[in-house]
């Protein structure tokens, strides 16, 4: 990229600042969010207009019986009840989502590793009916699963250890952590994870989503202030809402906006009574999966210290994927883990398992053990899942193989991103993030790209409204240490073919 493209015009939120890293290299923290080209926005709006018009037409035809209705209908005995769904609520689903729904929910019948076998489905009647053709698309290169360090394996030390633990502990637990579900393997996992992260203690839960939604209410309540990043995950938003604290949203990764809101919070207190807030909690994520951006952690920490707030860091996508030893975004910035009050993460992405954890000092963890909704009411983690995490942790933190995986992931990210940028795609986010979102703007191109890539033997993930803004549909590639260099090169050449076929090279930077 040329110098002019690096400064000002292209960088929306990211700035070219230089941070000292914990390791030997001084790297640039470089993020780019090229603004939407005007003609792309216009084309996208035209796309939506055409599809919407057809949507109205088809709804009209269906309502008056000219077209067959394939959707499920209400039970005839309940026709006097208040309708369960508002008719306009599902307009988007019926008329836009349905047309491209073959790119979502693709069933696989193999381990979600570097290549997958996809069960083929055929959709007809504009996406209303589907059936399995009976064929399986074999060895499709997997660019969509969260398999950052390649631990989604059905052979090797991890799966063998998991099988052993299934024989030793069984599969289920049937009880909550506070009752009879506290197995020795859970204690071992928590101790190992705490040692790995470099904190005092850790507590684990059976579901990453529930880790956020059931624990944030234990830390803050009414009379507290939460400052939440604009692009936070749905689980964080739900946790904040259930806590009944006041939520204020600051612009994504924008330190000035955060400072302004922090300052207003401390200086002016609660809205009508002017009483000071009990606590202020800042909630950010390590890597944002839709934007590919990395949180400006030094900036947030500086503000946190100045205004005496607490920091909740959700490392769902960054644990295992960033940092020289995979310790996440704190290691990436060379910051000690004890500076973050609450470190949360999930085991689904880099460890090939399931579940979540919260780590920090012992007072925090003991408080959560006693008060977490999940520890009291939900069953604890299944033992083979715990064992998978333990084995993958021992590989990541102790062995040559672990270091190689982390290096391979970093290398793959770099090659892939640079390759895509050279082809002229608009790629969002930070150069070091393992998530690579490429902007297509129009949902129609999203559908076409995904289908064509599948024909060429690549499985990609397309995301549209409502997960993203309505004109910013994108394809999100997830890098994996399991992908070979050849597979990445093949993917890039497939993207190159499609770029000319579908006019996807929007980027002005060359």
């Amino acid at each position: 990229m040329n110098a002019a493209a690096q400064n000002g015009e292209l960088n929306r939120n990211g700035a070219n600042e230089i941070y000292h890293k914990g390791g030997s290299t001084k790297r640039k923290f470089q993020e780019s969010f090229e603004p939407t080209p005007l003609y792309a926005a216009i084309v996208t709006y035209v796309n939506y207009a055409v599809v919407t018009l057809f949507g109205f037409l088809r709804d009209f035809l269906r309502k008056h019986g000219f077209e067959k209705l394939y959707a499920a209908t209400e039970d005839p005995e309940m026709k006097d009840f208040v309708p369960l769904y508002a008719s306009f609520e599902s307009f988007y689903t019926r008329n836009i989502y349905n047309r491209i729904q073959d790119i979502f929910n693709r069933p696989i019948c193999s381990v979600p590793g570097a290549t997958i076998n996809i069960v083929e489905r055929k959709f007809s009647h504009s996406g209303w009916t589907s059936k399995y053709t009976g064929k399986t698309l074999k060895n499709v290169v997997n660019l969509g699963s969260y398999n950052y360090l390649g631990f989604a394996e059905n052979e090797g030390t991890c799966s063998e250890a998991a099988i052993e633990s299934a024989k030793k502990y069984g599969v289920g637990v049937c009880s909550s952590r506070q009752e009879m579900g506290n197995l020795d393997i859970h204690t071992k996992l928590e101790q190992t994870m705490a040692d790995y992260l470099g904190v005092e203690a850790c507590i684990t839960f059976g579901m990453g989503y529930a880790t956020n939604s059931t624990n944030i209410p234990c830390l803050v309540n009414k009379g507290c202030l939460i400052l939440s990043d604009g692009l936070n995950h749905a689980s964080l938003v739900l946790g904040c809402r259930l806590s009944r604290a006041t939520i204020r949203v600051f612009k994504h990764n924008d330190m000035e906006d955060l400072e302004r809101k922090l300052s207003d919070g401390v200086v002016y207190g609660q809205p009508r009574t002017q009483r000071p807030w009990k606590k202020i909690l800042i909630i950010v994520e390590g890597v944002y999966s839709m934007e590919g951006s990395i949180v400006n952690l030094p900036g947030v920490l500086a503000l946190k210290k100045k205004y005496k707030a607490y920091l909740y860091l959700d490392e769902a996508h960054s644990i295992g994927a960033l940092g020289d030893h995979g310790r996440g975004v704190t290691e990436y910035f060379g910051i000690h883990a004890s500076e973050v009050d609450i470190m949360m993460g999930t085991f689904t992405k880099s460890f090939g398992a399931a579940g979540g954890y919260i780590a920090g000092n012992r007072a925090l963890v003991e408080h959560l053990r006693a008060h977490s909704h999940s520890a009291c009411y939900a069953t604890s983690m299944s033992p083979p899942v715990c064992q998978q995490i333990l084995t993958s942790l021992s590989i990541i933190s102790g062995t040559e193989e672990g270091r190689n995986r982390i290096k391979q992931l970093a290398k793959s990210c770099k090659i892939f991103r640079q390759g895509l940028k050279k082809l002229g795609f608009i790629v969002y986010g930070n150069d070091d993030s393992p998530v690579v979102p490429v902007l297509f703007y129009s949902p129609c191109k999203l559908g076409a790209f995904s289908r064509e890539m599948l024909k060429r033997g690549f499985a990609v993930v397309g995301v549209g409204f409502p997960a993203t803004p309505i004109v910013e549909s994108r394809v999100r590639f997830c890098m994996s240490a399991a992908l070979t260099d050849k597979q990445i090169q093949d993917a890039l050449s497939a993207c190159s073919d499609l770029s000319s076929l579908l006019n996807l090279n929007y980027s002005k930077a060359k």
Partner: protein, 469 residues
């Protein structure tokens, strides 16, 4: 025409010369005043007085937040320490160093440690690995998930089923998918915590009725009907739901499903039944409370169940008609935004379902053992037994309650004494301050598993009886 114009203007100027001076001065002052009012900033007393930078900094320095969590020694002194389970929990469990008979785990069909399930789970790990590495929409849908959903729907005789990766999340995500702000939900006041969180997330108006009291529910429904008559336009867009549990986690009672179905059609209120405990327990084949009362499942709008208790796996499910369930594939937060269930747990659940299907007399035996245990524990002085007579999960409360703290200590002493005699019981876990009903009495939840023999039941009952003395 110009002439009237000029004439009026000339007249005006002429009259100005003729007006008295005080009149002119007053008019000019009036015009100046109006202009001032128009252009001056409005001033409200509540508006913030702008603070200087140094004042702000002083306020920031002064402010001391509460500590994030209470101090460690306070937390440790108040909390009940976790019991250390060693090895595999099953009919017997090694707790805190002793091998005890396990009447605390909700292992109703005794499938914990089942060898068939273990074999299938092992083969599944050999094929799919452990994690599914993605949400359902993004290559996290494995063929075993689709198979499990079809199997569950077929078994329970409903049209569609949807799987969640966590039992707690299934009902907590299902309720807010349908009920939004402005809707009304009638919920039993004894519903479990997961339902309470679902109700809170929905932002609807919640009307609680007395635990398992159909008359109170009907009164509240009638009251709402009268309110609807007054404002029929609003009522025509307000959805109404009833949320109950098949077998209540907090009391071991079962709901009166025939009456609920009658109320559903009478007052046009949709019915959601949460069957975490009753799936695999009630009914001739374990299909739940609809089979128990012989009511066609289509009469209930949505059933939410758990794979974590009777089926000894992980995860939850919702089933019902396609019209209702398909909506959750895009609106169920715990489904869309979470990674899917690990494939081996889905395989384990399928195998458990097969075992349950093949051994229908297990259900009969379970009811018999539940009834027997309740009969053995009935009439212990100082202890009140709460629960449906055939239920394998029931509660023991203090007969003459004194205070929450003392009652809890009384029950804890019983649990400790039982532990010393190699019987494992547990106090029903509750977060008193977070629950809707913080006055709910503390209790011991006894869980009978079908694997316990009659002699062991009698021995256990004697140990409990001795412990209460």
């Amino acid at each position: 025409m110009d002439q009237p114009h000029k004439w009026v203007l000339a007249e005006a100027i002429h009259s100005m010369y003729q007006a008295p001076l005080y009149h002119l001065i007053l008019e000019v002052l009036l015009v100046i005043w109006i202009l001032r009012l128009l252009f001056s900033k409005s001033y409200r007393i509540q508006d913030r007085v702008p603070l200087t930078k140094s004042e702000k900094e002083a306020l920031v320095l002064d402010w001391t937040p509460e500590p994030l969590v209470p101090p460690l020694d306070k937390t440790l002194s108040e909390a009940v320490p976790y019991r250390a389970v060693n090895g595999q929990p099953g009919k017997n469990v090694e707790v805190d160093g002793r091998l005890c008979l396990n009447m605390a785990s909700l292992n109703f069909l005794g499938l914990l440690g089942n060898l068939r399930i273990e074999k299938q789970a092992t083969q599944s790990i050999k094929k799919y690995g452990v994690g599914s590495c993605g949400p359902r929409a993004f290559y996290g849908t494995v063929d075993v998930h689709v198979e499990l959903e079809e199997k569950l729907a077929k078994f329970i005789k409903s049209e569609r089923a949807i799987i969640y990766s966590y039992g707690f999340a299934s009902i907590a995500s299902a309720i807010p998918a349908y009920a939004k702000r402005g809707d009304i939900i009638f919920a039993d006041e004894g519903v479990c915590f997961a339902i309470q969180k679902g109700l809170q997330a929905s932002r609807s108006k919640i009307v609680y009725f007395k635990h398992n009291d159909m008359r109170d529910l009907e009164e509240k429904l009638k009251h709402q009907e009268q309110l609807d008559k007054k404002d029929s336009k609003k009522a025509s867009v307000t959805r109404k739901f009833m949320v109950v549990e098949g077998l209540y986690m907090n009391s071991g009672q079962i709901c009166d499903l025939p009456k609920l179905v009658e109320l559903k059609y009478k007052y046009k209120v949709r019915l959601f039944v949460e069957e975490s405990l009753s799936f695999g327990v009630l009914g001739e084949h374990g299909r739940g409370i609809t089979e128990h009362f012989n009511i066609p499942i289509g009469k209930v709008d949505m059933i939410s169940g758990s794979l974590e208790y009777a089926l000894a796996s992980s995860g939850g499910f919702c089933c019902g008609r396609a019209y209702v369930i398909d909506h959750q594939r895009l609106s169920g937060q715990g489904y869309v935004f979470s990674a899917s269930l690990p494939p081996f747990l889905a395989t384990a659940a399928m195998e458990a379902l097969d075992i349950m299907h093949e051994n229908a007399d297990m259900l009969k035996e379970l009811k018999y053992k539940g009834r027997k245990m309740q009969q053995l524990l009935n009439g212990i002085p100082g202890i009140e037994l709460v629960g449906y007579p055939d239920s394998p999960a029931f509660h023991l409360r203090r007969k003459d309650p004194v205070s929450f703290k003392e009652d809890l200590q009384f029950l804890q002493d019983i649990v400790n004494k039982c532990s010393k005699n190699d019987l494992c019981l547990t106090i029903a876990g509750r977060l008193k301050d977070e629950e809707l009903n913080s006055n709910w009495p503390p209790s011991i939840r006894v869980a009978v598993t079908v694997k316990i023999s009659d002699e062991e039941l009698e021995r256990a009952a004697n140990i409990i009886r001795d412990a209460t003395v």
